[in-house]
């Protein structure tokens, strides 16, 4: 990562929903161009890492919610484009060029469309107000030591000023985001549940500084929610039926389970896959991932349970190769070679090109020896 990309990445993190960012302040056009170029590079980096989730129905749903909100925003900028990144951490960030990224981790935590709308509305304000551009401008001036009142003062003073700008931007995104949410017919009372959910996540992560900032924002939000007559008129399409919402984001739940397994975040993997299975109990891959979570967390209790999950996957889809492989490995390790052999044979016939094939061929030879 180049230093400029690093600065951009830092700013995107600061602008993320769960952690706080700057007052609206238009950067010079050449700065803006440079920033947009950096944003495009950063997005390319995400694409090249292979972590962007492509699911047509999910993308279409998220875009519909974003456009409904964007209709309430007065801006000459184009409508934001929402993308999902496979990452179990709770993140949402808006790039200055209008691309808004939600992590599967944050989608896993959201309970309904109203909460999703608040996150998108908040990020939209960052985009519409070009907060990142203003912050970037501020960074540039600070690094050149010009144009800022504290330029000749200590580094600490600069940090304090930056923090104030960040907090101001967050409060503006909260305020204006709430107004957009209400104008679009979403239920503002859901915002406090969302923020409390985020707070619990930050507490779990031990992010004490971010916790303090979020608590301050929650306090402000509490004074603003329920103050107007229209605050109870929730007209969102899925209000009162979170099942519809969960069905629409189901692909993100599955992707989050897989991403959480990769990161070794077993609790989140279990939570995502359980949510998914409650919606789609006949999905073989979901049962397989449940089994993977139980097996790979290796806490002693899940070893037998995982066999049940793999067998369920095979009952639903007898030709699901990974479940055959996993069961074969479990029986092989337990010394039940005959049973393992049949699973390994099934795996190799169903997935002859699978990356694990050479390992399985080796185990199979040992079963036959």
């Amino acid at each position: 990562m180049t230093p400029r990309q690093y600065v951009l990445a830092c700013m995107m993190l600061l602008l993320a929903w769960a952690t706080p960012v700057i007052t609206a302040h238009a950067a010079a056009p050449d700065q803006t161009n440079r920033l947009w170029r950096l944003a495009a590079q950063e997005q390319e980096r995400l694409e090249q890492r292979g972590v962007v989730l492509y699911d047509a129905s999910l993308s279409s749903y998220l875009q519909t919610v974003a456009e409904r909100l964007w209709e309430q925003v007065s801006s000459d900028l184009g409508a934001p484009i929402v993308k999902v990144v496979m990452d179990p951490r709770m993140q949402a960030y808006a790039f200055p060029n209008g691309y808004c990224f939600l992590s599967t981790g944050i989608l896993n935590r959201i309970e309904n469309e109203d909460q999703l709308a608040m996150i998108l509305a908040h990020e939209m304000v960052h985009y519409a107000r070009q907060h990142t551009a203003a912050l970037y401008d501020h960074f540039q001036m600070a690094s050149h030591g010009t144009g800022l009142p504290y330029a000749d003062q200590s580094h600490a003073a600069g940090k304090v000023a930056m923090k104030q700008k960040i907090d101001a931007a967050e409060h503006q995104a909260d305020d204006e985001g709430l107004a957009i949410l209400k104008a679009a017919g979403y239920c503002e009372t859901e915002v406090l549940s969302l923020m409390s959910n985020l707070l619990n996540y930050l507490l779990d992560q031990g992010a004490s500084e971010a916790v303090g900032r979020l608590e301050s924002r929650i306090k402000t939000m509490k004074t603003r929610i329920g103050q107007t007559e229209d605050s109870v008129s929730c007209k969102s399409p899925t209000h009162g039926n979170p099942g519809i919402f969960l069905n629409r984001i189901a692909p993100a739940l599955m992707a989050n389970a897989q991403a959480a397994i990769t990161c070794g975040d077993w609790n989140q993997a279990d939570q995502s896959i359980s949510k998914f299975l409650a919606l789609k109990p006949d999905d073989a891959r979901a049962h397989y991932l449940k089994g993977e979570t139980l097996r790979r967390r290796n806490d002693g209790s899940g070893k037998n349970q995982c066999i049940g999950s793999y067998l369920k996957a095979l009952k639903i889809d007898p030709e699901f190769p990974s479940a055959h492989r996993a069961l074969g490995e479990l029986h092989f390790k337990a010394g039940r070679f005959q049973t393992a052999e049949s699973y390994f044979e099934a795996f190799l016939s169903l997935a002859p090109q699978d990356d694990a094939r050479e390992f399985i061929k080796g185990y199979l030879r040992q079963c036959r020896d």
Partner: protein
């Protein structure tokens, strides 16, 4: 031979390497003929330099940005940088390879990660695994790695060869293969059979060649991915 032509991109790699070396100049010494860090020992490639750290031994000829061999023996309890998964003493080679691969996949600085091979391998006479992968580093340089790993009774041993894909990887591959072939563990190999139901090393000669005969295997493997 196009691979041996020093062109502009190779020069660029050299410039970056020089900057990197200047930045992280450390106590590099001439590598001893025989590198020993019980329980393992290895014959160093001739003329290479060695950097010893608490965690690992690194060998390099032209500088670590261009190519290096890293040898590491770590406690099974030690965590990974990018995943909370843990290695367990009873893991099969494939399961251990999955943990290493997941840690690589979770590295945010790696781009265009491609898995070129994932297979069983004999590592110093023990049943382990071999991964081959390529990726782009943060400077946009394509890097290629051969990673051997094996779970020993109480530790995880790994040995990898990483080099700039263009020119350097193939150039020093024979030196790495020689070093790998010289790897020995000074421990009782019976313990391996206690860990898993049957040892992967108990196999026909044909299989032994496929899993452990690195030179032959490397020939075939690399002719297809060059």
């Amino acid at each position: 031979m196009p691979g041996l032509t020093i062109n502009r991109s190779v020069i660029a790699v050299w410039v970056v390497a020089t900057l990197m070396l200047t930045a992280c100049a450390g106590p590099w010494n001439k590598a001893p003929d025989q590198l020993r860090e019980p329980p393992w020992s290895i014959t160093s490639p001739e003329g290479w330099m060695q950097l010893s750290t608490q965690e690992s031994e690194m060998l390099s000829k032209d500088g670590p940005y261009l190519e290096y061999i890293l040898i590491q023996s770590r406690s099974l309890a030690q965590g990974f940088r990018f995943t909370n998964q843990k290695l367990e003493p009873d893991m099969l080679p494939h399961e251990a390879a999955q943990v290493i691969a997941d840690n690589m996949r979770s590295d945010p600085l790696i781009r265009q990660l491609k898995w070129l091979a994932s297979e069983p391998a004999m590592v110093g006479g023990h049943a382990g695994f071999r991964l081959i992968y390529s990726y782009q580093d943060p400077y946009g340089v394509k890097i290629k790695t051969i990673y051997y790993g094996v779970i020993l009774p109480d530790q995880f041993f790994n040995l990898r060869y990483t080099a700039a894909h263009r020119y350097y990887f193939d150039k020093e591959l024979p030196a790495f293969n020689q070093a790998f072939d010289s790897l020995r563990f000074g421990m009782d190999s019976k313990r391996d059979s206690e860990r898993i139901p049957r040892r992967l090393s108990v196999r026909s000669k044909d299989t032994e060649h496929q899993a452990g005969g690195v030179s032959g295997l490397t020939e075939n493997r690399f002719s297809s991915i060059r």
